[in-house]
Symmetry: C2
Subunit: 204 residues, 2 copies
């Protein structure tokens, strides 16, 4: 029997996307969480592919990269689009999300306070309204991020809203009501709800 072990930090972060996907598929997994920064640096980091987590292990395999992993399991879950054209629509929106993610990271993980303050201006004036505005509009018009139906992109996005709300200190589901309604819809999926009911509470 295949057993899954997810290694990530004790936050939602990007690891939460894999927790959502495995939960959607009804797969049990060991939710291994690295609790402190020193043990990450001293025990784990060097052993990870490209020195990053999440890492998903099963049947002797070591998978990394949250999007690649979610796209892979999406095929089993039939959440990857019905053909190459639908897959393209999902990939285009997710790669745009990656651009957004890196803009937010460049701000949030910035250790240079002057530079951080400068980036903050651009981020909140331009980037956040552009991306979250477009995502919100997509949900309003089509209900989902791509193809007007549920895909792994939706599970992924719903899973990181808490993480991004924390990084931006912005109540995304309140500021963008269609994102809020979308997340409620995803969170009502029984297997997702079951995960939410049992997951550890973390701030981000």
């Amino acid at each position: 029997m295949t057993t899954y072990k997810l290694t990530y930090f004790n936050i939602m972060g990007l690891g939460e996307t894999i927790r959502y996907m495995l939960s959607y598929l009804g797969k049990d997994f060991e939710d291994f969480r690295i609790n402190d920064y020193p043990s990450w640096v001293n025990e784990f980091k060097q052993k990870m592919p490209f020195e990053k987590v999440p890492l998903l292990e099963f049947d002797g395999h070591r998978l990394h990269q949250s999007m690649a992993i979610c796209r892979y399991f999406a095929k089993e879950a039939k959440l990857n689009g019905d053909n190459a054209w639908e897959e393209l629509q999902i990939d285009m929106i997710m790669d745009s999300f990656v651009d957004f993610r890196h803009a937010v990271w460049a701000y949030f993980y910035n250790k240079d306070e002057n530079n951080k303050e400068h980036l903050k201006g651009m981020l909140f004036k331009k980037t956040v309204p552009l991306y979250l505005g477009k995502f919100d509009k997509l949900f309003e018009e089509q209900g989902y991020l791509a193809n007007g139906k549920l895909s792994w992109a939706d599970l992924y996005f719903a899973a990181v809203i808490g993480y991004f709300s924390f990084m931006l200190q912005l109540d995304i589901v309140k500021e963008y009501p269609n994102i809020g309604a979308f997340r409620e819809k995803i969170h009502a999926i029984p297997n997702i709800k079951a995960w939410l009911d049992k997951r550890p509470t973390t701030e981000w």
Copy 2:
């Protein structure tokens, strides 16, 4: 008959990945290049999906995001892996490349000279050797980025080596001989060679 129009800047940059992929498939395309920054900002930027290029237009469609576009055409070119597991291997390495790309961008496009100098230290001491070292090793051991055979990831990576060499001011193909040998192999593919012979010469 389908006609393709690629809109990008007058550089190799990320647009070159789509130029390689379309060339590999033997598809002609209009190689439309925006030559100056003011016209980008004033004429084009607002009209682009998420205000970015490359943009690929055909049959009334407007495709964006270089990786999503290359993955889509890879299916036609049979360069996407033979099954979900092989696709996963390609996606994992490409998403790691995206992490590398953003680390390089955070440095290269940085307008804060102090912050840039700080990032430069980390980049050249840690990030560049880690990523380019692993890519070089993959080429040495397996000949390709994933599955030991040609995929869209290889075309994509070969297409951006010039761009990254410029951003890093590092002669990548000289510093990493297996990357160099790999690029020669890709550049010897007849349809790619035909593109190289006719493309405009640009510095990056």
